[in-house]
């Protein structure tokens, strides 16, 4: 059946797309022409030799409502609604915009024609690949005006030539899939740079998510022209080219670190005393910081594109970057961090974790508590520094920041659990002080007479604890509760 429908097929090297299209137009054919090259496929629907629809597969996904929203043509809720309804179909998006009066019919036609020309222009540059023409019924009722093959080809060839010129000028690092984003350190007013409206629009859309091809489509500016503008913005150091593969790898690596740290946190959650909870938090923080340091040694901006960097250089870099912060924290607020050292680019918190061999009871708890607070500050500050350096204010950066905040809120819950216990213990100690008066000194924190951690843990710690405790009961001492 399929053999009967396919009336022509072959190699693009033997017969180019231009010739195939002209031949089909001259003979007034109706059917679908499929052109494949690598992962990309183009299907062109013809009706009596005229182009009535075009579909491209294997390229980048194009979020037209999102881009129109960035350009101020749509409000965010309207863009989201169109995204949900159209499911990535550009023609459906445009049609819905026309129906709602957000775009004129004429503009929709121009946009559809531009998209067709753009795709054909791209396919005209394919050297290797195959084509097949299927004689089949073309569903009519498409919104696009039938396009004359000759004029479409003429414009597509002109645009393809423009790309060749761009390549000849030496702009070889920019392709239609290139994604650019604003450099994080740009804080000057770009209006003073004398940029044209076109440049400003490309700059607006260079948010680290939108490929060049999509920018071209939404601005209806040929891809080659957008490539030139992007190059200018790169020269002005306003944008940078995003390595999507590297960023995906980086995101996965950071996700793994967060997941591992969350797992460590959960493992140490079921503890029998406050010292163990604090120790668990110190281990979680230390593991997380070391994971992040190892990650940054690999993905830091200054380490990229240099091949295999000697380990000693990576260690020096990490020490130079993070030791000052650690020293500052230990000098100003958390002297316990003086015992933390950096060995081979990683934090060594062993001195803190083995403190239980030197001190006991309340004093140990106080040391641990100070370490928890200090490491928590160090962890947060390091993560912010790393993320800013590695991905800046990009989509990936924002996503990771969100996941990080969620993880920190889980950590915060554990810290608060201890803080509540501590507050309760202090209130009790003060109460005893008042009652006992001159009878003798009050026991050290954590000594006999302090609130029962196990009881508290049972009530607050387990997942079901939240629901089982009476409202506000955690703030009362056991005596008050029993009364």
């Amino acid at each position: 059946m399929e053999q009967q429908e396919r009336i022509m097929d072959g190699d693009l090297q033997t017969l180019g797309l231009q010739s195939i299209l002209k031949m089909l137009a001259l003979s007034g054919k109706t059917g679908k022409l499929f052109v494949h090259s690598g992962p990309e496929t183009l299907s062109i629907s013809l009706h009596k030799g005229q182009i009535v629809a075009l579909h491209e597969e294997g390229g980048s996904r194009i979020d037209l409502p999102g881009m129109l929203c960035l350009l101020g043509r749509l409000t965010p809720p309207n863009a989201q609604m169109l995204r949900d309804l159209a499911q990535g179909d550009i023609q459906a998006t445009l049609q819905m915009m026309v129906e709602r009066g957000w775009m004129s019919m004429e503009e929709m036609q121009r946009r559809l024609e531009f998209a067709v020309t753009q795709s054909i222009s791209h396919a005209l540059r394919w050297v290797n690949g195959r084509f097949a023409f299927h004689r089949q019924m073309i569903p009519m009722g498409g919104k696009m005006r039938p396009l004359d093959v000759d004029s479409t080809l003429l414009e597509a060839l002109r645009q393809a030539d423009e790309w060749e010129e761009v390549v000849a000028e030496g702009i070889s690092n920019i392709t239609r899939n290139t994604v650019a984003r604003w450099l994080p350190e740009v804080n000057r007013d770009v209006r003073n740079l004398g940029l044209s409206q076109e440049c400003i629009e490309v700059l607006c859309l260079s948010n680290g998510e939108i490929p060049l091809q999509a920018i071209s489509l939404v601005l209806m500016t040929p891809e080659a022209r957008v490539a030139r503008i992007m190059m200018r913005l790169l020269e002005l150091r306003l944008v940078e080219v995003v390595d999507m593969a590297l960023e995906a790898e980086l995101q996965r690596d950071l996700s793994n670190i967060i997941i591992k740290s969350q797992h460590t946190l959960v493992r140490h959650r079921q503890t029998s005393n406050p010292e163990q909870l604090l120790q668990g938090l110190i281990i979680t923080f230390a593991d997380c910081i070391n994971g992040l340091l190892a990650h940054h040694g690999h993905y830091a901006r200054s380490m990229r594109g240099r091949g295999q960097v000697p380990e000693s250089e990576v260690i020096r870099y990490l020490e130079r970057r993070f030791m000052p912060l650690l020293q500052q924290l230990s000098g100003q607020q958390y002297p316990i961090l003086e015992t933390v050292t950096m060995v081979n680019g990683l934090l060594d918190c062993n001195d803190i974790l083995t403190l239980n061999k030197v001190v006991k009871g309340g004093q140990l708890e106080e040391f641990y508590w100070e370490a928890v607070q200090g490491l928590s500050v160090f962890l947060r500050a390091s993560f912010d520094m790393m993320l800013r350096d590695e991905v800046g204010n990009s989509h990936t950066g924002r996503q990771l920041n969100l996941a990080w905040k969620v993880f920190l809120s889980e950590v915060e819950n554990e810290v608060q659990r201890y803080q509540l216990y501590r507050a309760q213990r202090n209130v009790q100690a003060r109460g005893r002080e008042t009652i006992q008066g001159a009878t003798g000194p009050v026991g050290a924190p954590g000594s006999a007479g302090a609130p029962n951690w196990n009881g508290a843990n049972g009530a607050w710690g387990g997942p079901g604890g939240e629901a089982s405790r009476p409202n506000g009961a955690i703030y009362w001492s056991p005596e008050t509760q029993s009364r």
Binding site: R61, Q87, G88, A248, Q251, R252, S255, N256, I258, I259, K260, Q262, H263, V266, R267, Q399, L400, L402, A403, V406, F407, S409, E410, P463, G464, A467
Partner: protein
């Protein structure tokens, strides 16, 4: 093109967020639930193509949820990947007996997660029946 929907059931917001972020990057729609009961509601409402199910959950554990889903004719085809911090043979066996398709041990690697999910999403459109208005399937929790 329609994207497959994956339901992530975990009481940890961090795990939910990371899994969501990782799978969305692979063009997979992710919905989440933090406990067993809301997980069952989401299964009935959204008919996911796959479920990632944590074992230790508040109110109802993962094994129990898995058994309920497997007993329902409408949903029994949905692959269920168990997520657990325990990697003992006993836990894996228990998961298998409850009807899980695969078992992922926490802390899992993002690449491993993507591969496992993609493996079980092959032909997902054939498995998930088209849901019509007024035909909303129900999942009953007894006991």
């Amino acid at each position: 093109m329609m994207e497959p929907t994956v339901l992530v059931v975990d009481d940890s917001p961090t795990v939910r967020k990371i899994v969501q972020m990782t799978l969305q990057k692979e063009h997979i729609r992710v919905i989440t639930a933090s406990d067993g009961l809301s997980a069952l509601t989401s299964v009935a409402d959204e008919m996911p193509a796959l479920i990632l199910l944590d074992i230790q959950l508040p109110r109802m554990d993962g094994y129990h949820i898995c058994q309920i889903i497997r007993k329902n004719l409408q949903f029994r085809q949905i692959p269920i990947i168990m997520l657990s911090g325990k990697d003992g043979i006993f836990d894996k066996m228990r998961g298998r007996l409850a009807g899980s398709t695969e078992y992922l041990t926490k802390p899992f690697d993002s690449n491993e997660l993507i591969q496992t999910v993609k493996k079980h999403l092959v032909n997902w459109q054939e498995r998930v029946p088209v849901q019509h208005e007024g035909m909303r399937p129900r999942l009953r929790y007894r006991g």
